[in-house]
């Protein structure tokens, strides 16, 4: 823990702020659910909650991976394309070998994604190319490769083995369980392990992190591998949930993912935020989508609301950051 001793004294006050940040999303969520339920009680029915959670699971897995990258002051715009490639790979595999166990399918998907992550990470690290540029490029390239491969073909639900589809739609919500496992594991690593803390240090100040002896290169590639791997995993979940896969699966998803992460309080310039926040952001965005349908509010408002929410979230974060900075300065001067 030597590398992170410096911020340790501040952690308690920062923790409070971060908790408050996530509390804000929870409050917004509760309010939204309350209003919607009053207008239509069926919004809180078992089936409805189940649907929302299942839909959230995919976005949450992506958001967790994205948060890891964003914390290191990078960004991964290629996740939508990686999801598409992974979904199609796994779909094709299951089409040809229906006997493959679901666990294997999940591993293949995550592997495809991780490979894409390695590509991104290596280009960022050794090519010295900014993450925004690299992942914008791989967004095009990976999608293009998927289109090449898939051509006009679409994999329909009836071509996939029932055991796999059951995984997405069975009474036990496997998707949600898997998403929660991913979330908890990542959160624990980020919170309590040296590697995790090093990611925050890199995001706060890449230069200082390097000087402090953190293997910045390996950690950067690692973060992209996590993001890619989780995007690949999300591709398998996508395939299981929707059962229909073509080359366009997940197109444009990157914006929702970045939105979820930003709404969840992960700072775009790295160094702060939690995966809990990112997952809550994903839950909030998904719930808004469902609530609008139930409240019969014009669907067209959804995107505008998401946009407004992003602005609100980063505005609020800025405000909190300014306060915290002022508070720390004050305390620092007392100590010093």
């Amino acid at each position: 823990m030597t590398a992170v001793e410096l911020p340790a004294p501040k952690r308690s006050s920062l923790d409070v702020v971060l908790r408050a940040r996530e509390l804000g999303i929870v409050l917004a969520l509760v309010l939204l659910v309350a209003v919607t339920t009053i207008s239509n009680p069926r919004f809180l029915s078992g089936q409805s909650i189940r649907d929302i959670l299942l839909n959230t699971a995919i976005l949450a897995v992506l958001a967790v991976g994205q948060a890891v990258v964003v914390i290191t002051r990078n960004i991964d715009l290629s996740v939508g394309s990686v999801l598409g490639l992974s979904a199609f790979t796994v779909g094709t595999l299951l089409q040809n070998y229906p006997g493959i166990p679901v666990v294997f399918a999940l591993l293949v998907g995550a592997g495809v994604g991780a490979a894409c992550g390695v590509l991104n990470g290596v280009l960022v690290r050794y090519g010295n190319v900014p993450a925004l540029v690299v992942t914008l490029g791989t967004l095009y390239v990976i999608r293009g490769v998927t289109y090449f491969w898939a051509g006009g073909s679409q994999i329909n639900a009836d071509e996939l083995p029932p055991s796999f589809l059951n995984f997405g739609t069975a009474d036990i919500p496997w998707l949600v369980i898997l998403a929660v496992v991913v979330l908890v594991v990542t959160a624990v690593v980020l919170r309590s392990y040296r590697t995790g803390r090093e990611l925050y240090a890199m995001g706060s100040s890449p230069q200082a992190a390097q000087l402090a002896g953190i293997p910045v290169g390996r950690r950067t590639i690692g973060a992209f591998v996590v993001s890619g791997g989780l995007a690949g995993l999300a591709g398998v979940l996508f395939a299981a949930r929707f059962g229909t896969i073509d080359a366009a699966a997940g197109t444009g998803m990157e914006l929702n993912v970045v939105a979820a992460v930003v709404v969840g309080g992960v700072a775009v310039f790295g160094g702060s935020g939690t995966v809990w926040g990112a997952a809550l952001g994903a839950l909030l965005l998904t719930t808004i989508g469902s609530a609008l349908a139930v409240l019969e509010i014009n669907q067209f408002w959804q995107q505008a609301i998401v946009g407004g929410l992003i602005l609100l979230a980063i505005g609020a974060d800025r405000l909190v950051a300014v306060r915290v900075a002022a508070g720390l300065k004050k305390r620092g001067s007392h100590v010093g």
């Binding site: 090519g127 540029v133 490029g137 095009y140 890449p206 946009g307 602005l311 980063i314 505005g315």
Partner: protein, 321 residues
């Protein structure tokens, strides 16, 4: 800050890349004209210009924004909202001579909103403009729904798709050339341009030199919004169709073209001729590949690879020497 410094590149790189991209573009044009059937025809030239017009227009102010170290991802949504409002007002029986300036003004206001969040509140422009990307596009759908407005006056639509009498030069090329010259002169031959580079290189140093980075960036966002609004008007007239989803995803192509043109994403470096070459390169490759019956997919791959190569290439060369 420090990430920028870590990847800081030598000044020489810029000039080299600028020349290289222009040379590559020229070579591609020559090869395409020689080997692709009907690439070099006057009619195809017209189509090519019309296809790359919106990207080229929006890329002009985007270059300046990126040189200051910021980014504007909301441009395509601004284009869409401008188009949607145009359709809405036309349906409300407003004269098009009023609608067009209103749409430009709207673009300016949308740009000012971005500028306000970035410069006054000091928020990261990447996050702000991803937010307004969703917001403006959403509003476009709120304004016009999923419908399309089509019956714009032929005088205007014909002008946009037409050519200067007796020549194969498209009318809209005049608009593009005039604006490109204006932005080029501003960036490379005025104090404003020098301030843009100074702010991009070091905001703090620029401030000490008496430049007000906030004000400069604010007006660049206004310019970016205005041009996006104009692009929305021209887009609508070209296709004689106002739709809320017009130009969706264009921001990625614009950023790709600007970066391909040798502008550093970290700010401080870039030149407009390179950017124009970048736009032309992407546009003509697309056109030539399409004429050779190469699928869209290949195009995506080419764009992505070019984008990464444009930054990676110079980096690798530098490392070796």
């Amino acid at each position: 800050m420090s990430a920028e410094q870590l990847t800081e590149t030598r000044i020489g790189r810029l000039a080299n890349w600028n020349v290289a991209i222009i040379a590559i573009t020229a070579v591609v044009l020559v090869i395409a004209a020689a080997s692709v059937n009907s690439f070099g025809t006057a009619q195809n030239f017209g189509f090519l210009v019309l296809d790359l017009l919106p990207i080229a227009l929006v890329a002009l102010p985007m270059t300046l924004v990126i040189v200051t170290g910021e980014i504007d991802l909301s441009v395509a949504s601004t284009l869409g909202l401008s188009s949607a409002v145009m359709g809405y007002l036309w349906n409300a029986n407003q004269p098009i001579e009023t609608i067009i300036p209103v749409c430009l003004l709207l673009g300016a206001v949308l740009g000012a909103i971005n500028g306000f969040f970035v410069t006054v509140l000091g928020l990261p422009s990447l996050a702000v403009t991803i937010g307004t990307l969703a917001l403006y596009r959403g509003l476009a759908f709120v304004v016009l729904g999923d419908g399309a407005v089509a019956d714009f006056p032929a005088v205007y639509t014909d002008w946009v798709t037409g050519t200067i009498a007796g020549t194969p030069i498209p009318n809209v090329l005049i608009v593009l050339v005039v604006l490109a010259v204006i932005f080029g002169v501003i960036l490379h031959a005025t104090p404003i341009g020098r301030a843009v580079f100074a702010v991009g290189a070091s905001e703090q140093a620029a401030r000490f030199a008496g430049i007000r980075p906030g004000r400069l960036k604010f007006w660049l966002y206004v310019a970016s919004g205005t041009i996006a609004g104009l692009a929305g008007v021209l887009w609508t007239l070209r296709y004689s169709s106002a739709r809320a989803d017009n130009g969706a995803g264009l921001e990625l192509a614009v950023v790709a073209a600007v970066l391909l043109g040798g502008v550093s994403i970290f700010g401080g470096k870039g030149a407009l001729p390179g950017v124009i070459a970048g736009v032309v390169l992407l546009g003509s490759l697309q056109n030539a590949l399409r004429l050779s019956d190469v699928s869209n997919e290949a195009l995506n791959v080419v764009t992505g690879v070019l984008l990464i190569a444009s930054v990676l290439g110079p980096n690798l060369i530098r490392r070796r020497t």
